[in-house]
């Protein structure tokens, strides 16, 4: 991306790939939304297996609409954790969406109703797409909206399919759905493990949660592990560099 480069007729000349068309952006958005829809199927199934009814499962997808928080919420309730711990963990996981909307907003510049809807769509995938197509700004906005709307539709459709499917299956324990919850959370964590610092935080947080499990109410050890992120984030940067 060379935003400072002055526009000239030769900008997209020989050897330089033309910018992606709207059609290409749209195709990418749909493929991301389809992948998320598949993920939502497992969320819907796990949520119902945990003891939520179909309406509650669907309400979380419509209103919360942020996968990691939704999985954490039903996971903690399923593990016998208290409602307060489940709510707090969901909120801590959702805090990053605030950073997303903060960094997206100068570009989106939305007002009124669009602002209310746009805020709900500020999640990992829409942020990534909007940044990937940062220029021109119209493409960035298009990427945000097309990804967000497709994702919202398929996320909720997938949730419904998974939730209804799980009510048909019956007893979920025999199908290993408890192991599926851990695997789903791990699959969310996996792409973030890009360097040694992330691995260190992962192992430390997992260790804290394991050690505290026998002494604290279910759900609280997970919250306690947030301290690992606090300590790592507040340490001087130079400790991590090199």
């Amino acid at each position: 991306m060379s935003g400072s480069e002055p526009p000239s007729t030769g900008r997209y000349g020989r050897g330089v790939a033309p910018p992606p068309t709207r059609r290409q952006i749209h195709a990418k958005a749909v493929s991301i939304a389809v992948a998320s829809g598949a993920y939502a199927i497992s969320y819907g199934a796990i949520a119902v297996a945990t003891g939520l009814d179909v309406w509650q499962t669907q309400t979380l997808s419509l209103l919360m609409f942020t996968g990691a928080s939704q999985f954490a919420f039903v996971g903690i309730l399923g593990a016998g954790g208290g409602m307060v711990a489940a709510v707090l963990t969901a909120l801590l996981l959702g805090a990053r969406n605030g950073i997303y909307s903060m960094s997206l907003w100068p570009r989106l510049q939305l007002r009124g109703g669009r602002r209310l809807i746009g805020a709900q769509l500020a999640i990992d995938e829409t942020t990534a797409m909007s940044i990937a197509h940062a220029e021109p700004v119209e493409d960035s906005r298009y990427a945000f909206w097309v990804t967000g709307l497709w994702l919202f539709a398929l996320w909720n459709l997938g949730t419904l399919v998974g939730a209804l499917g799980a009510t048909v299956i019956g007893d979920p324990g025999t199908f290993g759905l408890d192991a599926a919850t851990a695997a789903a959370l791990l699959a969310l964590l996996w792409p973030r493990l890009v360097d040694r610092q992330m691995w260190a935080i992962t192992l430390a947080a997992a260790g804290v949660a394991i050690v505290l499990t026998p002494v604290l109410q279910p759900g609280v050890p997970v919250l306690a592990a947030a301290v690992v992120a606090l300590v790592a984030g507040l340490l001087p940067t130079r400790m991590w560099v090199r």
């Binding site: 992948a35 509650q56 309400t59 209103l63 919360m64 990691a68 928080s69 903690i76 593990a79 409602m83 709510v87 969901a90 909120l91 996981l93 959702g94 990053r96 969406n97 605030g98 997303y100 909307s101 903060m102 960094s103 907003w105 100068p106 602002r115 209310l116 746009g118 805020a119 199908f175 290993g176 408890d178 192991a179 599926a180 851990a182 695997a183 959370l185 791990l186 699959a187 969310l188 964590l189 973030r192 935080i201 430390a204 947080a205 949660a209 394991i210 499990t213 026998p214 002494v215 604290l216 279910p218 050890p221 997970v222 306690a224 592990a225 947030a226 992120a229 790592a232 984030g233 507040l234």
Partner: protein
């Protein structure tokens, strides 16, 4: 249950909306940004650990650990999300059906 669902949902929406109201200068505080960015890593790691080895207020090594190991292999092989989840569920469910693990 409904109260918790609505509080958590509206809270998560409020976090997103807050980002549209706060000035972008808040992000210039490197430590705040870094800490919020690291939060999902720590929480997800803790959740994976507890979901795999926790059983109420005690620890257990059972079929879920085998399921997680299978999921890790699937992730290393770059399997798509749904495959990772199904592989873990089938591994754990299969071991239980065979009576090899609880």
């Amino acid at each position: 249950m409904w109260i918790g669902i609505l509080v958590a949902s509206l809270g998560c929406y409020a976090e997103k909306f807050l980002g549209t109201v706060l000035p972008a200068s808040v992000l210039e505080n490197e430590r705040i940004r870094r800490t919020l960015g690291l939060m999902p890593v720590a929480l997800l790691a803790a959740l994976v650990a507890v979901q795999t080895f926790g059983s109420g207020m005690s620890l257990a090594l059972d079929a879920r650990a085998a399921g997680l190991a299978a999921a890790i292999i699937a992730l290393i092989l770059r399997a798509p999300f749904l495959v990772v989840v199904i592989v873990a569920a089938v591994t754990a469910g299969g071991l239980r059906a065979l009576g090899w693990a609880t």
